[in-house]
Amino acid sequence: MTEEYAIQLSGITKAFGSVVANKNIDLNVRQGEILALLGENGSGKTTLMNMLSGIYQPDSGTIRVNGKEVSIHSPEDAKRLGIGMVHQHFKLVDVFSAADNVWMGREKAGFRLKRNRYAEMEAIAKKFGFDIDPRKKVCNMAVSEKQTLEIIKVLSYGAKIIILDEPTAVLTVQEIQKLFTVLRKMKDEGHSIIIITHKLGEVMEISDRVAILRKGEYITTVNTAETDEQALTEWMVGRKVDLNIDRPAMEKTKPLLELRDVCIRSDEGTTAIDGVSFYIRGGEILGVAGIAGCGQKELCEAIAGLRPIEKGQMIHKGDNIVGLPPRVILEKGISMSFIPEDRLGMGLAPSLSITDNMLLKNYADAKGPFVDRKQGRADAQQVIRELEVVTPSTETPVRRLSGGNVQKVLLGREIKAGPNVLVTAYPVRGLDIHSSYAIYDILNRQKKDGVGILFVGEDLDVMMALCDKILVLCHGKVMGVVHAHKTTKEELGLMMTGSLDLTNKYEDKPAGIAKDSLFGDGQQKVEG
């Protein structure tokens, strides 16, 4: 007799247009285990899980739940089968209370809204070991509260199989530990749990088994106890991580961009960047490491002039550039490219052609009232040729390109503009290894040309190999700047989680301020 699995996927394939997100995937989940679904960004983890939760439907393949073949056409079907998913972007109604968010999906809730639903909700939450204010509206909740609510929601519908999509990305260390306690308790109660992540430490800590996806394909499943991070990484990236990234040594120039005591607010009005000081010299790559959402986006936007700087100063070649409009900052040669999670959100106009996207930042330079498309086309051709962009033509809308090519177009344009400071966030997000190396190469070429580069990244191995120095952020505060070739992953990890603060390591000079700062001249210029 074969073992009865909670979930059995076989031959699952899903394509979006010409992009195949999942290719013939087989995956089994045992009863009462925690299975980590490991893979790089863009390896198809979320797509696969969305097929279990009824958001997408597979193009082909079968799904078995508790041994029975099922077809999941909608989240309703998934719910009925006892599958619940906590999405990375929470699916909550902002204007509803916590209780109503749960109540709206409850079966047999009765026609009339029960007055005691708040008390009932609180009791349910207690039963699962959570403490939540049932009357609190979602729009007034902190991120971790929202996540808790999502988990309560899923549990209260009686889900036996629970999928969590990158649940730790938005949590603090303490919150992660609390979440893991909850997950273990759920497991003990007989739930099967799938946790999507790309953080190896967490995989080792929480999971019973690990299933690995790479570029939309299923690689293998191993028992966590019988493996180690090195092995997992190999499976995840496809070969031994001998990150052979060049780090050319360069003659460093004076600081190009200096930030001093900068404070920036987030969209929600909270302090996203809190008193940050650092500087970038020409010919160096400064990495910025940190847990997702600890101020990287706000920092990038502020440097580009897209977000006001509440306090502090930002000096470019000795000139104060705080409060200047984005266009002026662009003209000074500061270029920012940010690859958001959906990859198309910022920096590109997805419906416009590659040519038109090339023109985005310099269209205004053409003489007269007309756009110089000839120049744009020439630029597009050059970028396509030099960065090996795969596209039918220069007139293809950017949205029709695959992820790696979109990023090449974006980065290609930034470099074309000949910046002296290049801010780039997640430039290899979701790219395969080959494309990633192409991007590292581009950055290194820029570095050799004397450009100062701020590299906001996710992968510590890459940053340690590529960057000269790494600045670590934790909840908007600088935890220190370390030399990339001297530091260790452990040290960085500790700093990222806030357990190690190296800012006061050198007491002779304040952290993040250059010895040969151009700051003084700048101030005089500003005042003068």
Binding site: T62, I329, L330, L344, L360, A366, F370, R400
Partner: protein
Amino acid sequence: MGMHIVKRENLPLWQKVCLYVGAVAAALLLGAVLLLAIGVDPIAYYNRMFTLGTVGNPIAYKVYANYLADLVPLVLTSLALSLAFKMKFWNIGGEGQFIMGALATAVVAIKLGGVLPTAVVLILMCLAAMVAAGIYGLIVAALKVKFGTNETLLTLMLNYVALYLLTYLMETKVPWNFLLDPTAVRPVPQSFDKMVKFPSIPLVGKFSLNVCVIFVVLIGLLIHVYLRRTKQGYEISVVGDSAGTARYAGMKVGPIVLRTVFLSACLIGLAAAFKVGSTGILSTTITEDVGWTGIIVAWLAQLNTWAIFLVSALVCVLHYGSTVAAATFAQVDSSFANMLQGVILFLVLAADFFTRFRVVMVKKGGSDHGNG
């Protein structure tokens, strides 16, 4: 086996055209069934309608002139709206802006007609109309930019505010109201077609071409160049595609929205000036619903400048033709055109779905080995 719906990447143009033509044909077929049901020969009816009753008509030249007179404001309004729509600014206030333009035109025409040279008055009429309509649109754009006010609902409301202002001026007989004919006892609008009017150029036979037609074609050309070639046109496409990207590229999104909406409303005002300057009289029904129809035309033409000309021409045939046909076929009300237009649009909307999505069958299968 199951089926579900997925987004389509791109459909070849000819397939798109086939789908739309099919939708229109199906709608006409439905109309034909209805005509048969009430005992009218659909072929004869459609024949009359699509030829605008010009066949064997000794005053066909008048029909063409009238048809073009209807077409001019519709094309221009649709073109104008397409500018705002391209930026995803849902200006459904074409009616209100048209009315404001029409009022301004009439004021200038009555006050200055005969005082200044005709050409000067005509130019002033156009300018006044553009400014009046432009400001009426600009108010909404400013509120949208500053406070995020919902422009769809606000422009909708302002349509009626303008309409009742016009009605008030057209129905209130008081000494200061120079928009009404002072010699009439009842409120009758003051006609000024004797004093100022857009001239017509005699062409073939008795047919003469209103200069407005030429202007509209020229404006169409300019808008095409504006959208495709100029920096401002480029800014419109970027803002419409992604406001975040526009901001990132250093564009000032607020001013771009204001500028574009103002321009859009100005052109609607110009459409009103052409209309009023050609009829030589104001009335409460001066818009003939071009503000509404224009929205539909702009959308049907998918904001393509030349497609707007084509679609407007067809919609106008439908409207004008059904009035003509109603004179011959007494049992078919002229409202048949509205119904037919509705059915055509419903089917085109349905056809549009198939250009953006496709229905796929879900296969089962795949290997049965797994992990564990």
